[in-house]
């Protein structure tokens, strides 16, 4: 029996700023997880990652991150990904400054 595929987003860091980015459905990079494209199909996710890896002049280190579908779009399943949506906890820096 095939194991159940955990939905995923493609995420990376922007080349210039280092800021966390996500692949959106329109193929652009977005800074907001809510706008990320959530892949529920394993093959589609793997293909999207391959495409992202070819865009080395835009982002660094793309990978697939586990998510669940929530009312506001993808939601992290792990605390590391939750921190990446906000920024550090000691100062209101990073994404939490603007979002």
């Amino acid at each position: 029996m095939a194991s159940v595929f955990t939905p995923k987003v493609v995420t990376a860091n922007a080349l210039f700023e280092g800021d966390v980015v996500y692949l959106a459905a329109d193929g652009d990079w977005t800074r907001r997880l809510a706008e990320a494209d959530l892949f529920t199909n394993e093959a589609a996710a793997a293909l999207a990652l391959l495409d992202a890896e070819a865009r080395a002049h835009e982002v660094v280190g793309p990978y697939l991150a586990d998510m669940t579908a929530g009312p506001q779009g993808p939601q992290p399943t792990h605390f590391r990904e939750a921190f990446r949506t906000r920024g550090p906890s000691n100062y209101a820096h990073g994404k939490q400054e603007t979002v």
Binding site: N13, L15, F16, E17, G18, D19, V20, A56, H57, V60, G61, T77, H78, F79, R80, F83, R84, G87, P88, S89, N90, Y91, H93, G94, K95
Partner: protein
């Protein structure tokens, strides 16, 4: 202090120009990330969780006011107005943009600083006793040797691709304040029959396999130092395991090869290399040493003793250490205000510290591995003025060596390698015990927190060590007890199962309360009590329900 030669200036400028071109080629797409990554790491540039991070070396922790002001300028202009001082006497900027980094490096070069070899599998920034040149217990100032090693190791053609990173620390004092036993090579300056030499420790390190350095040479004559170091690193370069990153440090090489065999190999290598050193290294050491001549100490007129406030008395009791000159003092400025991020200073605070160093303290500052800033040469008559200025800047916290003077790595708030956060745990411990007003009652107690097994927060040598891990998707904190980073270094003992983030503070409180109960009197420190009683009573305090079920 050491001043750059023309060679140093042009070397550092050329490296900046080279890196500027590399950044341009990365941005225009000529370099892939795989090609660029080793180049940026060689220049101290990491990509962390939320942004790039630039790690700047503060060689042997020494800097002057102009350098500190420049760090403040960089923090304001290219970062978010603060910097983070690290356990290896570096400063990290957490938010630089890739395209700005060459300009930052040029600004550093303006004040004779750089970020070379603060990362990568090379010999890293050489650290030293932060009280160097000022301590009352010192055999010799360790910084000239540290500077010599820096010059020798920078861009050393044989050692640019070591199996793994390589860290050297030097102390000139029998009271080891540089944690030399936890370094790949630890050097302790010793005196024998009137001659200066080095005790050489090898194979120490923390991380996933913590080990205390072993004595490779008990007394190495001064003139043999560089050829001997070169022999050690050459032997490691050949034997060190490149097949497994986790077994690649020299501590594993020494452990697997055996100290005697390493000694034999190093001795043979040394014999071959020693003739190649024609004495130019010793001439350079002499020239460097002259630049580290102590300042002209001037105690000045005695000032009348004024009625001091309780805050001032606490500050002097806790943050001021005896200087080699009786009318001078060493002032440790705590970067551990209760609830603040350990090791962080704002640009304004950096400027206040720079001004104090320039006005009162022979223009010298130090960064300690414990993430504090030191004014090493302060005439005692200036202590009240310094305390007043520090108070105004939020820098007068009287907690050096106490429970809230916590070492913490950046953890998962910044670090891409971290498995859990460190900073919030440090903040909570500090504010909790400050609220209880117990800090001074508890006395000397070193808590050290790492956010992953790599142990940048030195948790293995904390009296209480805290290691943050990811346990099934939840932050979990393991506690070790009885570690010690001083001359007779000891790796702490793991107390038992870890605690969730919300349980850690009360666990630490139970440990501290157990200590207050167990100690013979107020003069027995936490570490002394632990050594006397062993783990058992502390374990019982940490895991009360287990203790009850055992008794049942």
């Amino acid at each position: 202090m050491y001043a750059y030669t023309d060679f140093d200036h042009s070397f550092v400028r050329n490296r900046v120009a080279q890196f500027r071109a590399q950044v341009e080629r990365r941005i225009d797409g000529s370099l892939t990330e795989d090609e660029f990554k080793p180049l940026r790491l060689m220049n101290g540039l990491y990509l962390q969780l939320h942004a790039y991070m630039l790690r700047v070396a503060i060689p042997y922790g020494t800097l002057n006011s102009a350098q500190m002001r420049q760090l403040a300028m960089i923090a304001d202009r290219w970062d978010k107005g603060y910097g983070h001082f690290t356990t290896r006497q570096n400063i990290q900027f957490n938010w630089p943009l890739l395209g700005d980094v060459p300009d930052i490096l040029d600004a550093l070069a303006d004040v004779e600083m750089h970020a070379i070899q603060t990362s990568g599998n090379t010999i890293r920034n050489v650290t030293a006793d932060h009280f160097a040149g000022a301590a009352a217990d010192e055999v010799a100032d360790p910084r000239p040797v540290a500077e010599l090693i820096r010059q020798w190791s920078t861009d050393h053609p044989e050692f640019q691709f070591l199996p793994r990173k390589f860290k050297v620390a030097v102390t000139g004092s029998p009271n080891d304040r540089a944690v030399t036993a936890a370094h790949d090579i630890g050097l302790r300056i010793v005196e024998r029959n009137g001659a200066i030499g080095y005790q050489v420790l090898v194979g120490g390190g923390l991380g996933r396999t913590p080990m205390i350095g072993k004595v490779l040479a008990d007394f190495l004559p001064q003139a043999d130092l560089l050829p001997y170091l070169e022999a050690i690193v050459a032997v490691y370069n050949l034997l060190g395991r490149r097949d497994n990153k986790y077994k690649a440090r020299i501590k594993i090489t020494v452990h697997e090869t055996g100290l005697e065999e390493i000694k034999r190999l190093v001795t043979a290598e040394f014999a071959a290399r020693k003739p190649l050193f024609t004495g130019v290294d010793q001439a350079m050491l002499a020239a460097i040493t002259a630049q580290f001549a102590p300042p002209a100490f001037d105690a000045g007129p005695a000032t009348p003793v004024l009625a001091a406030s309780a805050a001032y008395r606490a500050f002097v009791d806790t943050n001021v250490t005896a200087h080699r000159h009786p009318d001078y003092a060493i002032v440790t400025i705590s970067l551990k205000a209760h609830g603040a991020t350990p090791g962080d200073a704002t640009a304004d605070q950096m400027r206040v510290m720079a001004d104090l160093a320039q006005s009162y303290a022979h223009d010298e500052l130090r960064i300690s591995h414990e993430q504090n800033v030191i004014l090493p040469h302060v005439p005692r008559r200036h202590l009240p003025a310094i305390h007043a200025a520090l108070s105004d800047a939020g820098l007068a916290t009287a907690n050096v060596g106490l429970i809230s003077d916590i070492i913490a790595c950046p953890g998962m708030d910044y670090c891409a390698l971290a498995t859990a956060r460190s900073i919030p745990i440090a903040q909570e411990i500090a504010t909790h015990f400050d609220a209880l007003k117990l800090e001074h009652e508890i006395g000397p107690l070193k808590i050290k927190i790492s956010g992953c097994i790599n142990a940048c927060g030195h948790h293995h040598v904390g009296h209480i060590g805290i290691l943050g891990l990811d346990r099934a998707g939840v932050e979990n904190y393991q506690i070790t007890l009885g570690g010690d980073g001083t001359a007779d270094a000891v790796i702490g003992e793991r107390a038992g199962p870890g605690f969730g983030a919300h349980e850690v503070i009360s666990a630490i409180e139970r440990l501290v309360m157990a200590y207050l109960d167990l100690r013979t009197d107020t003069s027995e420190t936490f570490l002394q009590t632990y050594r006397r009683t062993g783990l058992a009573p502390f374990k019982a305090a940490l895991y009360p329900s287990e203790a009850r079920s055992d008794a049942a």
